[in-house]
Symmetry: C2
Subunit: 157 residues, 2 copies
Amino acid sequence: MKLPVSTEWVLHCATTLAQLKPGATASAAQLAHYYDLPAPYLAKQLQALVKAGVLTATTGPRGGFRLGRPAAEITLLQVVEAVDGTSAPYECREIRRQGRGALPPEDCRDTCILAAKMAEAHDAWRRSLAGVSLADILASLPSTAPARTRSRLAGTS
Amino acid sequence: MKLPVSTEWVLHCATTLAQLKPGATASAAQLAHYYDLPAPYLAKQLQALVKAGVLTATTGPRGGFRLGRPAAEITLLQVVEAVDGTSAPYECREIRRQGRGALPPEDCRDTCILAAKMAEAHDAWRRSLAGVSLADILASLPSTAPARTRSRLAGTS
């Protein structure tokens, strides 16, 4: 059970964009330089965040990415699921219905209890990540972080 | 983020073995017939459960698999981690230390807050599955289930 490596990228990039001044943007190239990541692949991930509404992309000479809504309204779950999808890690293929032990249909009206317990665990994981916003992450950073981030991102430091 | 298909197999097989009479065993072939699964691959998964102490394997003409300890002392987490391992789905590669935005070492003494939040979510998932034992699963089955299971497993019904 593995999340893609790009999960770390998008969590950090969203956190970085959350430190921009209102209305400011950063390009995929700037973010790629900031974290030394492959720009084309990073750009694809950022587009996935745009599709999910986490980011907004603006075009033109000063175009780039910025948060699609306030940092307090973007959760880590939304960022993670934007790139990894929302499907649960456990897939129930209903093996209870097959083979010599196959249960009759009338015994399979309810969700398999094992699938239900695996789904509860996934819900617990989702709730945990849904309880943390980008604003919470920013609040945990040193007060000097946003100014440093903006300056390094612009390549002016 | 996906669990292997064999996760469903081992959860069901462990539940099935929990319904045997004390001291009784079932072979990989019997379990494979019971759920119509590929026996050699299932046998490998059952061996992983033995290695984790969830099951015990006995040899000889009446040999096979049985629970390695009472059903109340075997959690779904132990079954799942026996086949999928214990590593967390999120891997922090410390991209905060690289690129133009690289943080100095003194700012990286603590775990990255994003990695910490992802770890908390994994802990929530693990706690959820650690809170459910095979005995809990058995308690949710119809009272007629164990007798049916034993008879179908033995191929006598």
